[in-house]
């Protein structure tokens, strides 16, 4: 691709985009083997998860999900979820919704597996934090569509580029909240760990992570919600699910299909949000801090 040598403002044309494209090309050709493996692993994970959620009959999966809601929150959420799932099934979006749920779960898990250790590292090392912070800003503010281009180049069309783009886009709050949570832990309590002769790992495991858990869980909630918001965009590059129907509806100006798929996304979003928020509330520290009947 060639670009003109001057811009409309008269300044010399800086071929920034070309450089990035060249870089991506180089990365693609150099690490092709690695990317193929990543692609295979992610595809396998997605396939298994999708079979797990979409394979059994609708009522069984819906009841299991409602049971989770009952366990972490209460019967209201459980009943509400059941009604919502019934609505999804009634507009014939159940299979798509399970595709989407599988994609969201996989992308969130991958994002958290990367984000939480990175957040811990940032909290413990100011230099790392200073380096990571602008990168996170970039990842979060760059229009999400832009990720799709290199990920499609690297991983080819299908569900994998969608997952990878989702992971990149959704990771940032996971890192930020983890770092914030650990940095917010009372300095004196950490000092107490040191003062009684505890090692770094034990302090992380027994003091910093438990005390940061409410904040980290808020980050987990954000990661999941951002992942869900990416499913429509993933639909554009061929990922199955509600996103693809939304994209199709948009292309054909099909109001009814668009609304049905959209409402299904909302129901999934509310379910995931309430369940993860309830999980955050159930961490031992959050519960302990609520107990103040002295």
């Amino acid at each position: 691709m060639t670009t003109t040598s001057t811009t409309t403002t008269g300044l010399p044309r800086l071929p920034l985009g070309d450089w990035v494209a060249d870089g991506v090309d180089w990365v693609t050709s150099t690490f092709r083997g690695l990317f193929d493996q990543i692609r295979a692993v992610l595809e396998w994970c997605y396939g298994s998860l999708d079979t797990l959620l979409g394979g059994p009959p609708f009522w069984l999966v819906a009841l299991l999900l409602a049971a989770i809601a009952l366990l972490v929150k209460g019967w209201r959420l459980a009943v509400g979820s059941l009604v919502g799932f019934a609505l999804i099934a009634a507009v014939d979006q159940w299979s798509n919704a399970m595709n989407t749920l599988a994609l969201v779960i996989l992308a969130s898990v991958v994002a958290l597996v990367l984000a939480i250790p990175l957040g811990i590292w940032c909290a413990r090392n100011d230099r790392v934090s200073q380096f990571v912070r602008p990168v996170l800003d970039l990842m979060q503010t760059m229009p999400a569509f832009v990720y799709l281009i290199p990920t499609v180049v690297i991983f080819r069309v299908g569900v994998v580029p969608g997952i990878v783009a989702t992971v990149i886009f959704a990771m940032a709050p996971g890192v930020r909240f983890t770092e914030l949570g650990i940095r917010q832990v009372d300095r004196e309590v950490v000092e107490a760990g040191h003062a009684f002769g505890s090692g770094e790992r034990r302090i992380l495991r027994q003091i910093q992570l438990p005390l940061a858990m409410p904040t980290i869980m808020a980050g987990v909630n954000q990661v999941i919600m951002l992942s869900l918001s990416m499913v429509v965009i993933s639909g554009m590059v061929g990922a199955a699910g509600l996103g693809r129907d939304v994209v199709t509806a948009l292309q054909r100006v099909n109001m009814s299909l668009g609304f049905e798929a959209g409402v299904s996304v909302v129901i999934l979003a509310v379910f995931l949000d309430r369940v993860t928020a309830a999980l955050a509330d159930r961490s031992p520290v959050a519960r302990a801090l609520r107990t103040t009947d002295a």
Binding site: A192, H194, A195, F196, G197, V285, R287, T291
Partner: protein, 418 residues
Amino acid sequence: MTMTAVRAENVYKVFGRRPGEAVRRLREGATRDEVAMHGTAAVIDASFEVASGETFVVMGLSGSGKSTLIRMLNGLGRPTSGRVLLGDHDLSTVRSKELREIRQRRVSMVFQHFALLPHRSVLDNTAYPLEIRGVDKAERRRRAGEALELVGLERWADHLPSQLSGGMRQRVGLARALAADTDVLLMDEAFSALDPLIRREMQDQLLELQQTLGKTIVFITHDLNEAMYLGDRIAVMRDGRIVQVGTSEEILSDPANDYVAQFVADVDRTRVLTAASVMQPARAVVPLSGGPRLALRTMREQQVSAAYVLDRSRALRGMVHDADVVIALRNGADTLVDLVRTDVAPVSPETPLGELFAPAAESALPIPVTDAAGRLVGVVPRVTLLEAMVPPEQTPAQGTPAVADTPTSSDEATAVPA
């Protein structure tokens, strides 16, 4: 012979870009401000020894470096220069594995804001040091339970810290440090976050515990009253330097410089000074075997209207009043035995002055001070009591001896300005 539990030798701690350079300049006599461009000098040339079993208080205002100093005593901070010795271990050179070992077995800490784990029960918080040390669960719970008993919280073992009041939480902090069963206990502003009444209660409890446990305690505080109440010896810190080390009475009566003098001017002397430090030899004293005539003569010579009666072993038996003795003489009595009034309330030499005001107000005679065997070791006249309340630099003419055994009419007492 007492052992040295903690020793600091010319310890410097400088935070900042060029700590080494700052220390070199400070050694050459530069002030804290002059080295500010090289770093912040938190502790400058601190040297002291804490004997085993002693309560050593480091007193200073915020920014005086006391918190930095105490954190070097368990290796939370390392000195920029100088040595910190905990027993035989030189904390300035020790490796991190050995340092953890020392922290597990030799030195524990109580924190200003308690530093408890909110999601663990009181018992599990108390057992935390033992858990780190690898003591098995049953054993550490048993020992944590014992530590909680020491601070009177055994009934709260299953509660969470958030269910406890501030004072109780700090008792958990204290129990945790006691459960670690270390010889040395560091207390960093341990009672400063508590209400005054609770704080007083905690101070008393610490003194009480200390009588049976005999730990070596290094206690940090910004409250001089607390320092003087708790400390066997006190180090006064200012701008990173230790300006005076001594007992509370030494610091009160002989302040090293104007700064210390100003500081102690505000101290509550009634809590620091004891009966022993102000008592005087008793003059209006008659032996029980001496008879009414001797009693009258003594009272006349001392110009008082009553006298204390002692037996052969100098044990205080009571007091006789002049009117009683005169009437008894007219009636031909020749012994004091029937005249002795036993309604005297002697105090011990350790009684703080604050507790002498009530008896002084009620008694016609100076307050008798008796030792454990009941022997009269001295008396505290009311005028002495009032005089002791005045800081030294405000004392008028030096060398005027306090008038002993003044007849204590109420006019006399009110003549002294409050």
